[in-house]
Symmetry: D2
């Protein structure tokens, strides 16, 4: 059994027709898993629905506590990409003996050109096969939490030096 914790991020942003802006409503994770015809045993919990630029230390502590206390040993977290590495660090410092894979999307799932389904597929595969630790899965790659940064110019994740 894999636990999926939803925190919001680009993954789940929607277009508000009345205001013309982006907002959060419900998570699209169940719909995405249906689209992928996923047969993995997962349990989905929405912890928050926020842009990761607005994520506070308290929010990250909350995510860490849920990772610590949940029964599952394999955890996928959907998260905004801007502070993905910050949350990964908190988790690495606080959670033991679990395989945690954080992932995100560059384009909302509801938009035609989203990378979300690709990233979700790879995150769920990495979490089933990697040893315990905290990882970031983006762009088909998997990074150790302490060896990755988001390149603000390209939007891509890359290894440090």
């Amino acid at each position: 059994m894999i636990r999926i914790f939803v925190t919001g991020g680009t993954f789940d942003k929607e277009y508000n027709e009345l205001t013309g802006s982006l907002f959060f409503k419900d998570t699209h994770l169940p719909e995405m898993l249906r689209l992928g015809r996923s047969r993995i045993d997962v349990s989905i919990s929405t912890l928050m629905m926020i842009d990761s630029l607005e994520m506070t230390d308290e929010d990250r502590d909350l995510v860490a506590r849920h990772c610590e206390t949940c029964e599952e040993k394999q955890i996928v977290i959907t998260h905004g990409t801007d502070t993905l590495t910050d949350t990964a660090k908190i988790l690495a410092n606080n959670v033991r003996d679990k395989t945690i894979v954080l992932t995100g999307a560059m384009v909302p799932y509801k938009f035609g050109s989203s990378d979300g389904l690709f990233n979700l597929g790879s995150a769920l595969a990495f979490v089933q096969t990697l040893r315990t630790g905290v990882y970031i899965a983006m762009n088909g790659k998997c990074f150790n939490w302490n060896n990755v940064r988001k390149n603000k110019q390209t939007g891509m994740f890359e290894e440090l030096g």
Copy 2:
């Protein structure tokens, strides 16, 4: 570097507007990798573009030879789902010391409701993390080549007895 061998299958089927039937033109793999914003080093070769029900022993031997002789140690093969396990068996009997992941799709990529991008994401993740051997990645899961069958009633892949 990962090698991707394309053999056709539902993945790459398109709709022919003039005849109203499904057919093969070019592979959509490059487009799918762009959509996933993939940053993995891959080399794509189209070996054939056929429905897997039409795949002959010669075709499977051809796939096996390419897997043996290519430089890459990690190989993903896109393949029709109906005879995915037959090709996997040939590969298991003929190719040594490589990690080979076969994957497919239940719905063509060009249709709105395709599982292809999810499967491709997971196949590329599995091939990077699993030890040498031949595997089938479908529906978020990864099966050993000799412990899986396609359930014709549900369309899903499942472990043997």
Copy 3:
């Protein structure tokens, strides 16, 4: 109030994941009208769900009778493109004092690249503005029933000589 008669055709074809073939289930017209945020008063009736190559004389008579007897003066018919002109002729010979617009699609609505929504939007506009008669709306154009044919090479509708 506009009446929409559904007869099937490419518009409503779906992909059967288990057999890999195309088939009919339910009409997508209500979903398409929702997508278009349509605020037109319409009443939708499914008369049949068939490929227009399989449409018999009895089927066309049935369509004609429904056009004659329904209360609405404005009628849109969704129809396979192969025999669209045959049905139009039967309607022109049998239905008086109504504006009837037949339309179709080159690619099923459920596929990513469908022209269906464009054609539906134009058909609903033409039926509101044209005088009584039988018309075919395809590719943004509107043809009189007796001055149009489908070009089998291009798939496009065009005026006669």
Copy 4:
């Protein structure tokens, strides 16, 4: 021949992956016409690419001048919905002897759930069939310029009183 003037609006908004905000790049009108397999003779000119809330009096005068001076008698204008009626009024006061249909979209074309293709199909049909005047085509309906408002609560266009 129909002239299409592009002014921007929701129709053409795109998602910026790097900033997570919406922006304008190029118009999607040619792509939309291809998707609709349109066979209408059109000539597309981009006059501006802006949100209609930012449209100035000078901008509206520019649109009016182009409508006056272009050779075509049938004109479709894509426009943000928030001030669609303001521009329509300027056009009605300044342009003679042409059929002008303004249209827009509630959701950007590039997002999965856009009404844009439906509206474009209906606008192109209305402009071919209506007598000279200025109209607004939204939600499948066509309104006279002086008898319509956007309902800010529902996002829908409706007749006055």
